[in-house]
């Protein structure tokens, strides 16, 4: 066998080293590109909804009832005004081209405006009376128990309704982070019994939705919300039914 001359090769070592360097550079570039801090933009602007600001503690009142035990006493304020505006403008616009021809129509609209103004005044008076009445009742309650103003602790019935709202708000908060469902509009009614220590003694499904995932998310929300419960007023047990829907939690 004769000696065979071979071409000289440098070997794969330097190629491997170059390849490793290239890959490491690419990885470093990718990491820098992905995790580099973004350029500072404008300072963020935060908006706080002062009107609907949620209240965490039941001692300060419930966000749902607005801290008052008399929700029915104050009617929704802006509705009459909103209703009055388009009616006021539409005939005016429509009548504008015919202004010269029909004076009867303008008289009718004037009479309508006057009637609406009267109604508005009547509603305002009624609202003021209701507000004063509520204030009187509140003041009377605070005279009895000044440290529990706006709380469910005043009288038996009022206390129960407020505490239910508080529990509802806690459940709503917890349910937002656990909500999951398969069916389109599941609805579960759960009756909760809260003991004197603020812990859930019993929970019973009064109406099932058939959506297992939704029911699991409801139970998770209840378990999560339980940690934030305070003892019910009056030192006794509290029992109430809550309706869980994808839109939120309601009282039964």
């Amino acid at each position: 066998m004769s000696h065979t001359r071979q071409s000289r090769d440098t070997g794969l070592g330097w190629g491997l080293a170059t390849s490793c360097v290239v890959h490491a550079s690419l990885a470093a570039f990718f990491l820098l590109y992905r995790f580099s801090p973004p350029a500072p933009l404008e300072a963020p602007v935060y908006y706080v909804d002062v009107v609907n600001l949620p209240v965490a503690s039941p001692r300060a009142g419930s966000p749902v009832t607005g801290g008052s035990s008399l929700p029915a006493a104050s009617p929704p304020p802006p509705k009459p005004a909103e209703m009055a505006l388009p009616r006021k403008q539409t005939p005016a616009r429509a009548a504008a081209p015919k202004k010269a021809t029909s004076s009867r129509e303008s008289d009718a609209s004037q009479a309508f405006e006057e009637r609406m103004a009267k109604l508005q005044r009547a509603i305002d008076e009624r609202r003021q009376e209701a507000a004063i009445d509520a204030l009187r009742r509140k003041t009377a309650g605070s005279g009895r128990q000044p440290e529990r103003v706006g709380t469910p602790g005043g009288t038996g019935q009022e206390a129960g309704s407020d505490y239910a709202s508080y529990i509802q708000s806690r459940l709503t908060d917890a349910f937002q982070s656990t909500i999951a469902h398969q069916s389109k509009t599941p609805e579960v009614i759960v009756k909760l019994t809260i003991d004197a220590g603020g812990h859930i003694a019993r929970k019973r499904i009064e109406r099932s939705s058939g959506d297992k995932i939704f029911e699991e998310s409801v139970f998770k929300a209840i378990a999560r919300a339980e940690k934030t419960f305070v003892p019910p007023p009056g030192g006794g047990e509290f029992e109430y039914g809550f309706i869980f829907r994808p839109q939120g939690v309601g009282k039964k």
Binding site: S2, H3, T4, R5, Q6, S7, R8, D9, T10, G11, L12, W14, G15, L16, T18, S19, C20, V22, H23, A27, F30, L31, R34, F35, T178, A180, H181, Q182, K212, I213, E216, S217
Partner: protein
């Protein structure tokens, strides 16, 4: 890349395999680029030198200038066989004029064929790895993706939440495997095709050189 920390063990293993394939295939690409470039350029220079120089012993003494050319191996093998034939016939003084018996031509042709084969083997070394990378890494990546999606869906089933915020990250992580598989495969396939063409050209050059070498030897013998 930090969100890869949340991927499963199988997906991580798949990613490691893909990175290995990518690193090695790029190493081969760099190595082959240099090897083929040198082989081509030095073969051109050697052919120029071969046709300008009239004497085989003169060429043989200058072979070290063209160490990366496969043609020098062919010449060396052919010249060595020719030299042995001449020595066998006790005609050392005739070597300079390439005198030999006609039957010895077959021996020289065989030596040239053997050298050509060994050079082809040398040039094609590692190229098959590029073909393997190009054909398998997309499938390996796909396997990682399928496994990742399976794991993601399992997690979704366990948590009971089917929202997009829960589903999307798992699928995104799983798809990285396919992406890296393609990143490894595409350059490997392109390089494989490129090197196949270059090696084919070099093989044709070697065949032509072998034929020319045999022609020269035969012409010299018949002249005698």
């Amino acid at each position: 890349m930090l969100h890869l920390a949340g991927t499963g063990l199988v997906v991580k293993l798949v990613l490691c395999i893909l990175v290995f394939f990518s690193v090695v295939s790029w190493a081969i690409i760099f190595f082959k680029l240099l090897q083929v470039y040198r082989a081509n350029s030095e073969s051109e220079r050697f052919l120029d030198f071969f046709w300008k120089t009239k004497r085989f012993d003169g060429i043989n003494s200058q072979l070290d200038r063209f160490t990366n050319s496969p043609l020098t191996v062919l010449f060396s093998e052919g010249y060595g066989e020719l030299k042995r034939l001449v020595e066998k016939g006790d005609q050392k003084e005739e070597l300079d004029v390439m005198s030999t018996e006609l039957g010895g031509i077959e021996n020289i042709a065989r030596a040239l064929r053997r050298a050509t084969t060994s050079e082809i083997t040398r040039l094609e070394k590692y190229v098959t790895f590029l073909a393997t990378t190009g054909s398998t890494t997309p499938f390996i990546g796909l396997f990682g993706t399928v496994w990742g999606i399976m794991t993601a869906f399992k997690g979704i089933g366990e948590t009971g939440s089917a929202s997009l915020a829960v589903v999307a990250p798992g699928i995104s992580e799983a798809l990285i495997a396919t992406a890296i598989g393609l990143v490894a495969a595409i350059p490997a396939v392109m390089a494989y095709n490129h090197f196949q063409y270059k090696i084919k050209v070099l093989i044709a050059t070697m065949d032509n050189f072998s034929t020319e070498f045999l022609n020269i030897v035969q012409r010299t013998v018949t002249k005698k």
